[in-house]
């Protein structure tokens, strides 16, 4: 797509959203048979799958930690998830995202309960439209809950940014590409503790504060949807057991 003249017209974004509005969000829990926990997230045109294996025995053994479980995360994009086919295998971007994803999640997981173990989080981006790392974290947190991994709370994640001088929530690919600033963020929404923060582009100090405000609002909506999805899954399960 060519660069559009304006990304915000009459207070509305190209897809009709208000600046502080999320894209349509769908969260499904437990959609995979083999994984110990799984979740599927659609956020606008993003389609992201997360699966959790573990706690399970760590191999090779010399990677075991005697006093704690190890959390491992892999973020990966399907070759067909983007405009130009992506060659399979990790690249520098996915290695970095895997690292910050792990750091975003690790704080809430009670790893000490499972010494010598490993908990694996696998995130697969099936279709991408900006915000895949935050959708991945959102999905991973739900998958961890689905796997029954004990956690302090759920981590919720979204991006905010600046487009045509306006602070906006949940950028699309066009807004990311033609806008000024992208700031993915993850947090424990109840306590407002930020576990992931990256940013590139341009923010004045004042804009940064506005962006944080909007991020808190966005993550609360994500958080509600995560809990709702988990409730539905487990309500149904309990219902079935009767």
């Amino acid at each position: 797509m060519e660069k559009p003249e304006k990304l915000i017209v009459d207070g509305k974004r190209l897809d009709g959203r208000a600046p502080d509005e999320l894209r349509p969000l769908k969260i499904e829990v437990g959609i995979l048979e083999r994984a110990n926990g799984s979740a599927y997230v659609e956020l606008g045109a993003n389609k992201v799958l997360a699966a959790v294996y573990g706690p399970r025995e760590m191999h090779p053994r010399h990677h075991q930690q005697p006093d704690t479980a190890v959390l491992r995360c892999r973020y990966n994009m399907a070759p067909f998830s983007v405009e130009e086919r992506k060659r399979p295998g990790p690249d520098r971007r996915s290695v970095e995202i895997s690292k910050v994803t792990r750091e975003a999640l690790e704080q809430v997981v009670f790893l000490k309960l499972y010494p010598r173990s490993v908990i694996d989080v696998f995130i697969e981006v099936l279709q991408a439209d900006a915000g895949t790392r935050t959708a991945g974290i959102t999905a991973a947190a739900v998958a961890l809950a689905d796997a029954g991994v004990p956690m302090r709370d759920i981590v919720s994640s979204i991006a905010v940014g600046k487009v045509d001088g306006t602070i906006v929530l949940d950028l699309t690919n066009d807004e990311d590409q033609w806008g000024t600033t992208d700031m993915p963020i993850a947090m424990v929404p109840r306590k407002k503790l930020i576990t992931l923060l990256q940013m590139d582009g341009h923010f004045t100090g004042e804009e940064f504060k506005q962006a944080l405000d909007l991020a808190f609002k966005g993550c609360e909506q994500i958080y509600d949807a995560q809990r709702q999805a988990l409730r539905e899954k487990y309500a149904i399960k309990r219902g079935n057991k009767k």
Partner: protein, 256 residues
């Protein structure tokens, strides 16, 4: 690594004993598939895509079309590349990293079914002879592995090809994607001397050997692949062919 996981020796004996009686753990007939569903076009970023479920096994296939140079010995042919990823998401025994021998075999079996049946008319994919052709990338993504990934993958691949929309590219001048055949793979497992289709994961972990036969509409064979360390007798191969031919027709009907 064994891609079929491990079952306890008690379960192993149970499955083998059932097979001897012509029965299966999930009460299916020996010649009966689990429920099969084909969803077309779930991935919009691909030119074509399909998700296939066979029981709890799930495979996603995506097709991308890109400009490429033809191979020097085939200047008048488009390029077909099939890649398969056994995602660590799909099974506790799958590990991240480059495709291992199981993933490579899977991709190559699917590739041969499509290539040897001439399912795609590769000559129609030439833009400029010897210089510029369409490359068809089929990426197979195993999402959930409960057995019989080969049949699920081959079916997802052909379903994704059927779903191909024309790329928005000036060089594309064909009225439609030149798909001319629908090869379908059927894998027959041998357990305790009995042949059966669509092995579940626990059956795969017990089977002596498997044979995959890919057939086209008229029942002729375009590709075969035996796997596993066991053997087949001549009679078993002929019986497997009859099974494969009959079941391929059933699966092909799911392609719509």
């Amino acid at each position: 690594m064994n891609m079929y996981g491990i079952v306890s020796s008690v379960k192993r004996d149970y499955i083998a004993d059932l097979a001897r009686q012509g029965k299966r753990v999930d009460t299916r007939m020996l010649d009966q598939f689990r429920e099969v569903s084909v969803e077309s076009g779930p991935i919009k970023s691909a030119q074509g895509s399909a998700r296939v479920k066979i029981g709890k096994t799930q495979v996603l296939a995506g097709v991308k079309l890109e400009h490429a140079e033809p191979f020097s010995d085939r200047p008048d042919n488009g390029v077909l590349i099939v890649n398969a990823e056994l995602l660590p998401l799909a099974s506790p025994t799958f590990e991240p990293g480059r495709p291992d021998e199981n993933a490579i075999e899977l991709a190559r079996v699917v590739d041969r079914g499509i290539r040897e049946s001439e399912a795609i008319d590769l000559e129609k994919l030439v833009i400029k002879s010897g210089e510029d052709v369409w490359a068809v990338f089929i990426d197979i993504y195993a999402l959930d592995h409960d057995g019989n990934l080969i049949d699920a993958s081959a079916l997802a691949a052909i379903a994704a090809l059927l779903n191909v929309k024309l790329p928005e590219d000036e060089a594309w001048t064909l009225p439609e994607f030149p798909l001319q055949k629908k090869p379908v793979a059927v894998t027959v497992a041998k357990i305790n001397g009995k042949l059966m289709v669509d092995p579940r994961l626990d059956e795969e972990s017990v089977m002596d050997a498997r044979i995959t036969m890919t057939t086209i509409e008229d029942g002729s064979i375009c590709a075969m692949q035996k796997g596993g360390i066991g053997y087949f007798s001549r009679e078993e191969l002929e019986q497997a062919y009859e099974l494969a031919r009959a079941k391929a027709a059933e699966l092909r009907a799911k392609l719509g």
